[in-house]
């Protein structure tokens, strides 16, 4: 089970995930913009934030692909179906804990019940299942992560 397959899968999977989310946004299904959310944690400059956010998102995509690879190693099994199952778990984690709970805690510019838009600007928080960004956001996010997982699983399997 080759780690290079996981890394390539991570890049391609993140590409699929970001493109899928963007397409859903164009279709009016959601206002989620992960690069914007991630980038504004590091900079207040709106344009720079999106560029930095894309880079961060791909870096996280690689890290998660490595985590998937570890799971595949432990189970001694890989493939797009198992990857998709991991992606589903990953998506549930992202929609509930990661973006909803953890991101507002570490993001210096995101509103939470303890903040108020006083001196500095704050980002609209995602809310439970990220529903604040549109009702279809959980479904879109889950679908995107399932696709990501399937791609990573598929590439790991191909590289074995």
């Amino acid at each position: 089970m080759n780690v290079a397959g996981a890394l390539v899968g991570g890049v391609v999977g993140t590409l699929v995930l970001t493109s899928g989310l963007r397409a859903a946004s164009e279709l009016g299904l959601t206002r989620i913009d992960l690069p914007f959310l991630l980038g504004t944690a590091l900079t207040q400059n709106r344009v720079r934030a999106k560029a930095v956010g894309y880079a961060l998102h791909f870096a996280f995509g690689l890290l998660f692909a490595l985590a998937y690879w570890v799971v595949f190693r432990v189970l001694d099994e890989s493939g797009w179906l198992l990857g998709a199952a991991l992606g589903l778990l990953h998506g549930v984690f992202a929609a509930t804990a990661l973006v909803n709970v953890l991101l507002p805690l570490v993001h210096p510019r995101m509103a939470n019940p303890l903040t108020a838009a006083g001196r500095s600007p704050l980002l609209e928080p995602p809310g439970f299942l990220m529903l604040n960004y549109g009702r279809a956001t959980p479904a879109v996010t889950l679908a995107g992560h399932v696709a990501y997982g399937a791609v990573v699983g598929g590439f790991v399997s191909l590289a074995s």
Binding site: R31, Q44, N45, A117, E124
Partner: protein, 602 residues
């Protein structure tokens, strides 16, 4: 002058009562009574979030006004597109400053409407209400409070309403509202931040106030660096500022107007979407921008024009989207229409029409661009030669003319004049080596067009050029024959045409566009751009006194903040058509600059 704002029973205000604010991406219209009745987000050509202008029931709006009877007066903060409305009531006086904040490097909302309220005397109770209706009123918004901020969202779009010292925002079923009392010395701020395909950014008050102040300073800097120092300077600069509102900053294109379907006839069907850039406006746009010393805007506009037209090469389309797209499919919206004027249209079917005059506009624009010291590359020269060849193949065809008639195509005189202008200018560009040399093909065709105009479009009996070949109707656009140099401005035939137009189409300084059929029902008002063309034609012919007198009369028809619509109802003075209208303001700038040049040459 203080005025009590008027609205009819259905909630429509006179078009004259609006002022425009903008940020180079979109434009909002603010009524004399403090209501923002038109705003498209995130771009000028996007669907509206406020469209009470076209449907007070369904359109949505953002009102802010004293809760007691009031009179209002307003002005733009000098040198800016930031509006200042002063409300006078029996209980005191309050001032509202409205702006679409210009973006700065800090993290702010994608678009931001800032409304600063200052108590000037007494204690004035105020009420405000935000009714967001996304998608031209079609998409009901989901309202919620997110960590203390009122939010309305629908699909890709969302707005956040923040209030400081302006009362606690209350969430209703479909609106956010509040009320407060502004005492002498109080200062409150209402902020509407918008997001499109991204999470909202809730701005802090300090940053929002700083952006508003920065917006005022930025507009002032722009105005201070304008170079025009000729007659009617204040009016010209206000027109320059109005035009700057219509420049879509991301591409450099200039919208004909920021609105759709404000009617040319109240209750009529002449309602069009003007949130596109017309090739026809290009000569005046480039001329106005360079006359005002806006080299950056002129260059951006010129290259937008060439890039957009590349998509349909060698054919030129009548209009293009502000982002350069050739798509402009026309459809109707289920809105009531301004004072019942149906239908409300988005998109513009004129995009598919054949209008031959635009070739003249394109080549005159290129010629002007070169004349004013800008450079042309050889690839562009090659493409222009291909466009000229294409024109040689099609100029004999009938067309719909610059007025975009919806009746059958005919041989419009002005279209043929502009075909001559196109072929004449491309020959001159080729002489200078700026365009691949096709003079052997173009020059004979230019002579043939000229012969067509001089023989078939001249009416000996009336002593003027006519609207179309063989017709005895008149058309004010023939004045462009002088302005765009089809012939000498003091040639006997042009002078005869000017007189005939004034005689048959004129009502004082105002001109109707044309006599005769256009395939649509109803009458329309006087077309203001034509009146400014008349001023310019008179100035170019050396009749400076008449030109100055006409100009002075026309300036009296602007609204209280110096803006013009497309047309004027001659009996009531009411504005008609989309507002504020780029072509009218372009005409004003061009006429003033031409007058200055003619005066200097006299």
């Amino acid at each position: 002058m203080t005025t009590a704002p008027q609205r009819d029973e259905e909630g429509f205000a006179p078009i004259r009562d609006y002022a425009a604010i903008g940020d180079g991406r979109t434009v909002a219209l603010v009524g004399l009574d403090g209501a923002i009745d038109w705003l498209c987000l995130p771009h000028l050509h996007s669907p509206s979030v406020f469209a009470a202008l076209l449907d007070p029931e369904r359109g949505g709006r953002f009102t802010l006004a004293p809760a007691v009877p009031f009179e209002a007066e307003r002005r733009y903060v000098p040198g800016t597109n930031v509006l200042e409305t002063t409300f006078r009531t029996a209980k005191g006086v309050v001032r509202v400053t409205d702006a679409l904040s210009l973006p700065d490097p800090s993290l702010g909302a994608l678009r931001e409407v800032a409304r600063r309220v200052e108590g000037l005397a007494g204690a004035v109770p105020l009420a405000w209400r935000v009714e967001p209706r996304f998608g031209y009123g079609a998409n009901g918004a989901r309202l919620a409070r997110r960590d203390g901020v009122a939010v309305a969202a629908a699909g890709r779009d969302a707005v956040a309403v923040s209030a400081w010292e302006a009362g606690e925002p209350e969430l209703g079923a479909d609106a956010v509202s509040g009320g407060f009392e502004a005492r002498d010395g109080d200062r409150a701020l209402l902020l509407l931040g918008a997001a499109h395909q991204e999470p909202l950014v809730f701005s802090g008050r300090d940053a929002a106030e700083a952006r508003l102040d920065g917006t005022i300073a930025s507009w002032r800097r722009w105005t201070e660096t304008r170079e025009y120092d000729g007659p009617w300077k204040d009016d010209v600069l206000r027109s320059g500022l109005a035009l700057k509102l219509l420049v879509y900053a991301p591409s450099g294109a200039i919208a004909a107007a920021p609105t759709t379907s404000l009617p040319e006839t109240i209750g009529g069907e002449r309602n069009w979407d003007y949130r596109f850039a017309w090739i026809r406006d290009s000569v005046f746009t480039l001329e106005a921008l360079t006359d005002l010393g806006c080299s950056a805007e002129a260059t951006a506009f010129f290259w937008w024009l060439l890039h957009a037209s590349q998509l349909t090469h060698p054919r030129i389309q009548v209009l293009y989207g502000l982002d350069g797209s050739p798509e402009a499919e026309e459809r109707e919206l289920p809105l009531a229409g301004y004072r019942g004027s149906q239908p409300v249209r988005i998109g513009n079917g004129a995009a598919d029409q054949r209008q031959l005059d635009i070739y003249g506009d394109l080549f005159q624009t290129v010629f002007l661009y070169v004349e004013r010291g800008f450079e042309l590359d050889s690839d562009t020269g090659g493409r222009l030669a291909q466009i000229a060849d294409h024109l040689c193949d099609i100029w004999r065809e009938p067309d719909r003319g610059l007025w975009e008639v919806r009746s059958e195509p005919v041989h419009f005189t002005q279209s043929k004049m502009m075909c001559f202008v196109a072929l004449d200018r491309v020959c001159r560009l080729a002489e200078r080596g700026l365009v691949d040399d096709g003079r052997a093909r173009w020059a004979p065709q230019a002579r043939a067009v000229q012969e067509f105009v001089e023989t078939r479009c001249w009416n000996e009996e009336k002593g003027c050029y006519t609207r179309a070949a063989g017709s005895d109707e008149l058309d004010a656009s023939l004045l462009l024959g002088s302005l765009l140099e089809y012939c000498r401005p003091d040639s006997p035939r042009m002078l005869g045409t000017i007189e005939a137009i004034r005689r048959e189409l004129g009502k004082g300084p105002l001109l109707l566009r044309y006599s005769g059929e256009d395939g649509l029902h109803g009458e329309e008002g006087a077309f203001l751009a034509c009146s400014f063309w008349l001023v310019e034609a008179l100035a170019r012919a050396g009749r400076l006194d008449e030109a100055a007198e006409t100009m002075e009369e026309l300036l009296g028809h602007a609204n209280d903040v110096g803006l013009y619509a497309e047309e004027l109802e001659t009996s009531t003075g009411e504005f008609l058509g989309n507002f504020p209208q780029g072509l009218t303001h372009l005409g004003l700038v061009s006429a003033a600059a031409a007058f200055e040049r003619a005066e200097a040459a006299a």
